[in-house]
């Protein structure tokens, strides 16, 4: 039988250490909504979403009340829209009409984001893919709850550099069209390499073609819980070591992270199974991610500091992050029947107070963040850069990040915001879970000739690993 210490430990995690389930995301296939008439397509999309997800928010709230665990977001991911709108969209404006329909459906069912205004163009772009991509700036400017993503490369196909170059322009255009609210549109647009089909986290969530008609995916979180466990671990280690007051060994450190990740993930598994049973929709995966928020104590950067670097960015950061990411997976995998999505520690800048502090202290640069993305999910995330950064430089950053994903067989992503009218020394406020960020410097040497070459980078060799 459960004892008092265990009960109070769980409740302390929830009340004092920000333990929560970050998102219940319902994946919905819209492939059967495709029609050669635009209005019919929109109607089918609206009807399908509002029927399948009508109880999603209420169910999430009920589970939250009954188990006493906050469930922060209820969201929807859908089939990449370029696959659904191909037959009926002739101009980018047609796709914008679908975006407005999706936004309306999201508001009707009460979810805060709907992800999947997407195209998967890792090898080549169809006409429909390109129309969708060109519609992104307008779609994000005239909707509230749409998240967009474009997959530009994969380990199997290489990198589609034509799409990378186009995305440099699209990010700049999105920033321009949403300049009245600090280029917020770019915070809802992510460029991916090796995008998973079952990711529940925004902005990169979409419901891939390998998925069932509808599915429940859950993203767990809990950096505050890990941080607290590590603090306690070192206090215990120092008090047990009478001689020199050393911190805990790597062995103890790793064990502590694993055990904590197990506990966090079990809560996610419970919530996922309950949501699946109550909604009558199959359970897909748990995404084992440490996702920070701007709230104090809910920070991945703070965990890195607990492990022993003064600020994220200091030498040792990449190794500490690799260790953290791996132990979270090792602990989490046993706690869940199916694991998928991005599964790793997120290192967004604006959404993590510790990362913001590190940037302001001069400890963390984009180049170091890029190195960190080699060992954890997911990529250069929520980074504000000067508004006058050229599109070709942004494309260069996307190409670099995609190359890391392609070669290392992992998901990588770029979500950067060239904030119109802002430059070094300014800060930008996105609000809510998106937080605020200081503008970070970007290398000013040109990548124009590289980016302007057409075609694609071939897939890497899969042998001779060194």
């Amino acid at each position: 039988m459960i004892n008092m210490n265990e009960v109070f430990e769980t409740n302390k995690m929830i009340e004092q250490e920000n333990l929560d389930v970050r998102t219940i995301t319902m994946g919905i296939s819209l492939l059967d909504c495709a029609d050669n008439n635009l209005d019919t397509t929109c109607k089918k999309i609206y009807d399908k979403i509002t029927t399948l997800a009508k109880d999603l928010v209420k169910t999430g709230e009920n589970i939250s009340k009954e188990f006493g665990i906050p469930i922060v977001n209820k969201r929807i991911s859908i089939t990449p829209i370029s696959l659904v709108g191909g037959a009926c969209c002739k101009i980018p404006g047609d796709y914008v009409q679908i975006a407005k329909t999706l936004d309306k459906a999201a508001k009707t069912v009460g979810v805060n984001f709907i992800g999947g205004y997407s195209a998967v163009v890792s090898k080549g772009m169809t006409r429909s893919d390109e129309l969708l991509i060109r519609s992104i700036p307008m779609a994000l400017a005239c909707t509230e709850r749409i998240c967009s993503s474009v997959n530009v490369g994969s380990t199997k196909t290489g990198i589609n550099m034509d799409a990378v170059r186009l995305m440099g322009d699209i990010i700049k255009e999105t920033a321009e069209q949403t300049k009245d609210c600090d280029s917020l549109g770019c915070a809802k647009l992510v460029v991916l390499c090796n995008a998973p089909d079952d990711n529940p986290f925004m902005a990169g969530a979409f419901h891939g073609v390998s998925e069932a008609d509808a599915i429940i995916n859950v993203g767990v979180s809990g950096p505050g819980v890990v941080k607290h466990a590590l603090e306690q671990m070192d206090i215990n280690a120092r008090s047990n070591d009478g001689k020199n007051g050393s911190d805990a060994t790597f062995e103890v450190l790793c064990e502590t992270i694993k055990k904590t990740a197990f506990k966090i993930t079990r809560v996610g598994q419970l919530v996922a199974q309950e949501a699946s049973a109550r909604l009558g929709v199959p359970f897909g995966i748990i995404d084992l991610s440490l996702a920070p928020t701007p709230a104090i104590g809910d920070s991945v950067a703070d965990i890195l500091k607990c492990i022993g670097v003064e600020h994220p960015g200091a030498p040792g950061t990449t190794a500490a992050l690799a260790l953290l990411n791996d132990q979270v997976k090792k602990g989490g995998v046993m706690a869940s029947s199916y694991v998928g999505g991005l599964s790793g520690a997120f290192i967004p800048v604006s959404e993590d107070q510790g990362m913001i502090d590190a940037v302001e202290a001069g400890a963390l640069t984009i180049e170091k963040l890029e190195a960190m993305t080699c060992v954890c999910s997911v990529g250069l995330d929520m980074i504000a850069i000067p508004g006058d950064t050229p599109a070709t430089t942004i494309a260069g950053i996307i190409a670099d990040e995609s190359a890391i994903g392609m070669v290392n067989q992992k998901t990588t992503a770029v979500r950067i915001i060239p904030v119109v009218g802002k430059t070094l020394g300014d800060t930008v406020e996105f609000g809510g879970l998106l937080g605020y960020a200081p503008i970070m410097p970007v290398n000013t040497f040109a990548s124009t000739r590289f980016v302007n070459r057409t075609g694609r980078i071939p897939a890497p060799i899969h042998s001779f690993k060194n």
Binding site: M1, V7, F8, T10, E66, F67, K263, Q269
Partner: protein
């Protein structure tokens, strides 16, 4: 059986257990186990209860218990047992 865990945390005062237990009895909720400690004037109690015959739905019970807590100056939470079981048992 629908098992739930009720936790009460707060400054010790007269009649905490009485108030909570009376409410549970009035609503046909059976108490299976109680543990309680006082650390530095702080009252910590955990009850395991069976809510199968409860006359009210779970969320009403949970809200009303929380209100009773506010009246006597303590925090009362009611949660389904599964969350603790899943987290602490393999």
């Amino acid at each position: 059986m629908t098992r739930a865990i009720i936790t009460v945390v707060g400054k010790d005062t007269v009649g905490i257990i009485a108030k909570v237990c009376t409410y549970l009895a009035d609503n046909q909720i059976n108490i299976l186990d109680i543990s309680q400690t006082i650390v530095q004037d702080f009252f910590n109690m955990m009850m395991i209860v069976d809510m199968k015959k409860s006359v009210k739905p779970f969320d009403t019970i949970s809200e009303e218990l929380s209100k009773i807590g506010v009246e006597i100056g303590v925090q009362v939470k009611c949660q389904l047992e599964d969350i603790f079981d899943k987290m602490h048992r393999i």
